[in-house]
Symmetry: C2
Subunit: 259 residues, 2 copies
């Protein structure tokens, strides 16, 4: 037989099949990328080389390379900016949703730079869905709808939708909503939520949300919602937060709740 025949059959040309470990190629590429990232000590938010360059380096197609990159993305080691490329993830922001402390405060406390951008603020009726969800008396009850985007170190990490009962915090729209809402409620209205119910789970961002977070359509996200009650136990605020999943670690301390 002619040894010089080109490897027409892909099977023998696949490098990973000749190696001892029976791992898929994209897992080996991921591991290599992890060690490369660690060795080069790439700073947070720095950009990775182009996909075509990486694919050439690992002798694979872009499809396979992207499979490896998506693993690192799910693990929170790198993130994507839509159509811009891949970047090294900074450490997760540690967020305790049970604490009466606003985004601006706990991000600053971790040595990072927070920014809040108010995308929308309006007053209107709650509507049937929200009234039921919040446990309001009637759907015509007036509420404020806020939509805000929050940044950490030049990167959008969170979309936040707040619904606040209007009579609980009148004149809210005259305030500066690009600051801490927690602080505003405390200092302007003297309010401290006495109780809240939280729910959170992973899910995908919808297309609009992904665009607003400069993420790719269909990106993973982390969803957190909070229903807060006022001093008399009445529902006063309903929040929904959509996070970049690599940007966040939820932490909390429990005081031994007796049965």
């Amino acid at each position: 037989m002619n040894d010089d025949l080109p490897l027409a059959d892909g099977a023998q040309a696949r490098p990973y099949l000749s190696l001892r470990a029976p791992q898929p190629h994209y897992l080996r590429i991921r591991d290599q990328l992890v060690t490369d990232l660690a060795r080069d000590l790439l700073p947070a938010d720095s950009q990775l080389p182009a996909e075509r360059e990486l694919a050439e380096r690992f002798a694979c197609t872009r499809v396979t390379l992207r499979q490896a990159l998506q693993l690192l993305e799910s693990d929170g080691l790198i993130y994507r900016q839509n159509r811009r490329g891949w970047y090294v993830s900074p450490p997760r922001i540690r967020y305790d949703p049970t604490r009466i402390s606003g985004f601006m405060e706990y991000v600053t406390a971790q040595g990072r730079t927070p920014r809040t951008e108010c995308l929308q603020a309006q007053r209107g009726p709650a509507g049937a869905w929200l009234a039921k969800r919040m446990g309001l008396d009637h759907p015509e009850q007036q509420v404020f709808h806020l939509q805000r985007r929050r940044w950490v170190d030049q990167r959008p990490v969170l979309l936040e939708y707040n619904v606040l009962v209007a009579e609980w915090c009148p004149e809210l729209l005259g305030q500066d909503l690009s600051t801490s809402l927690t602080q505003l409620l405390r200092e302007r209205f003297g309010h401290v939520q006495s109780r809240s119910a939280l729910l959170m789970h992973p899910e995908t961002l919808d297309e609009k949300q992904a665009a607003q977070l400069q993420a790719s359509p269909g990106s993973n996200g982390f969803y957190l919602e909070r229903l807060s009650f006022g001093e008399q136990g009445q529902p006063v605020e309903f929040d929904r937060e959509f996070w970049r999943p690599d940007a966040l670690a939820v932490v909390l301390e429990t005081q031994g709740a007796p049965l």
Copy 2:
């Protein structure tokens, strides 16, 4: 020009380009699948048709189809069993990690059938890493290492690693560890944790974990860890939980923590 020329160029042959909506094809397939799933009222845990069949139905390749399926997977609507196929996700288990209530109890309370399988149970020194992580006095301190797999309705949803200070619950290995550890500690040892610190975030399952949960390598997971303290404030237990991300919704109630 000859109108009968075959469409050699893929551009004009791609169906999604001729549609009004500028959405990528895989997003349209996802939407179609969502409505199909809703219309057919497929029961939880039932299997979807084969990928090749779905790809033919949507006139796309398997690559594109799988992109759509992976979106539904991230959203928690369907899940995968490695090499077996795609299945409809049942409702998420609601889990309050601040409550003193075990897996067996809260799964049952939600009308589902829990099962706990003890994969490993041994006694040994904590080791340097764990001792530091738990705040133990010295790394030689004896602890129990448990590794358990938990099921809901015939499906493995959770891997749990428990580390318990041995002197806090002696003779633990003589007990039935395929039941509720919470209950065991309470009834056998009279223990109720007085305080705990939690941390959670999305990440990927490693290969062994994925295999144990019958998931595909590199699947998304949800990580939750808990460091619990005993009656005198001493560290007594360190848990790490790796969940199938579609199986879980974390819920909790906060009593207005004053500053």
